[in-house]
Symmetry: C2
Subunit: 140 residues, 2 copies
Amino acid sequence: MEKEVKYTTWVENATGIQGTARSLDGELQVQVSSPLKPVAGTNPEQLVGLALATCLNATIEAEEKRRGYDHQSVVRVKSEMGPDTPGYQFWVTAYVKIPQVDRQTAQAILKKAEQRCPMAKLLGANPNVTIKLVDEFEEV
Amino acid sequence: MEKEVKYTTWVENATGIQGTARSLDGELQVQVSSPLKPVAGTNPEQLVGLALATCLNATIEAEEKRRGYDHQSVVRVKSEMGPDTPGYQFWVTAYVKIPQVDRQTAQAILKKAEQRCPMAKLLGANPNVTIKLVDEFEEV
């Protein structure tokens, strides 16, 4: 299909690993820091995790409402970082709870959401990315 | 290679498209909203863009320093959203400026960074994702 853009936004990092990064419209401004140093700040692991959690949960929410359910779903994402050859790699695991429906319905809602959610599609082909339905989140 | 995790972090979205989303350690907390509605807040487009901008620029910074240059690189990311069949899709384009070196050196630094940067690797296989070296950013 032809590319049809409904929304465009710009973000920028000039600082590198330590300092402030932001969207040009001012809606997102964060302190970033190395996750391996005891310095306050967020990092790419959290940012990409929250992009997936928000996008997938928003898509599930739309599907809950389409089916006449209240929105009760929660998406929790674990982002991990470790060595790669060369450099580093991330592992991203999304845990999805849709507690107000039976497991079969929850699976159907999640499947539909994965097919529609742009973040799931952007990451989904990568073997380091997993999305799974759970009844309860594991202890953090 | 065997999976060796150096850092683990958790984030969560319970609200859906509108409300507060956060990391469980409290380092990242944002208001999210639909980019198609006139409501303040950030969104997955900006979050994934800033994850890529920060991770790639941090990796370029390390390579600048390894080569004895000051850190001057800037990564600006354009995130776009539009219809897909089904649902929606994102397009993510990273524009990279490494102004203190000649173009050939800048290309070599960027190539090295792309091979090492976990966000570039997480997204890089996707045809909707592009990373390019530029002399100047386009007008926004």
